[in-house]
Symmetry: D2
Subunit: 105 residues, 4 copies
Amino acid sequence: MEPEPKRMNDAEISAAVAQLDGWQVVDGMLSREYEFSDFVEAIGFMMRVSIWAQTINHHPEWSNIYNLVRVGLRTHDVDGISDYDVRLAAKMNELADRWRTASNG
Amino acid sequence: MEPEPKRMNDAEISAAVAQLDGWQVVDGMLSREYEFSDFVEAIGFMMRVSIWAQTINHHPEWSNIYNLVRVGLRTHDVDGISDYDVRLAAKMNELADRWRTASNG
Amino acid sequence: MEPEPKRMNDAEISAAVAQLDGWQVVDGMLSREYEFSDFVEAIGFMMRVSIWAQTINHHPEWSNIYNLVRVGLRTHDVDGISDYDVRLAAKMNELADRWRTASNG
Amino acid sequence: MEPEPKRMNDAEISAAVAQLDGWQVVDGMLSREYEFSDFVEAIGFMMRVSIWAQTINHHPEWSNIYNLVRVGLRTHDVDGISDYDVRLAAKMNELADRWRTASNG
């Protein structure tokens, strides 16, 4: 079993966000928008994230419009942002950056 | 090549919506929410829809929260709801109903 | 953490296979072929299975040709068939049967 | 509608394969193995390819074992290798190379 998510206070969240490229806190959620080259890449990203997210049983709120994926992270059980949201945000950047570095390369 | 999408007028949209179980027009978009048993089924639905949507090059605006998928359809090129939105809505019902009938069976 | 997979002996495997609709042991692997209505359904099935498989960190060997998915399960770490293979086989049936009952309904 | 696939002769196939990094003809199929960093990346690749393949209604024969994806391409309707197989092979390289360049970067 994974450990329980821990609610983070404002100072902890600020410190975490400073390490998370592109993320910010909006309306109490850890939030980011990703832009991909097209629909295929956007959906491919969502599928990779879905597989990974399921392994820690923590899931994003997200929307997709063609090549855009907007994400909001929050942990219902602690009624706030937790270390699980930070883990998922970091993993999403890793999965997306891999793509982006390549397409820019 | 697929034919161009055709903008539908209000009477045509009303007639189409009457045939589309669960869909309605909200803020100028053909809209529906699907509820699945869990995250795996919701994402599996999005994957099947994505493959199909790509074949007619027409894509939904949609969001996912755990077992819920909310969809809004609109055709940018005609600045309104088109026959493509109706086709995609009908196909989404077909792909989702298949699942739902089974799980109720 | 999930418990370690346990190697099953021939009697245990026979008893398990008797409960698994459509599965048999072929070349030392727990094996089955699924037939879906089309490519979209076959890939949708693989996606749902992938998400679930990752949660127990146990993955199928499988191939896809259009609407067919052929699966072979075996546990490398125990050099044989384990309880993890049986769990994954049962879950695959559940995910596929849901689809099949519906399309036959 | 997409044009009909055209059967290629041996000289045309050789010329095409020379341009397709990593591909060769094995048992009458255009063939390649891709190695990814893990299961998530392998399945993410298969999902991106699936969406794209559906748009030209031409599908691979392929298998997956953890981080490996083995592909064989052949066109049933022409009983041989066609221009569609070459298009799909080139697209698969593009979708995979994007990933690979990034992970090496």
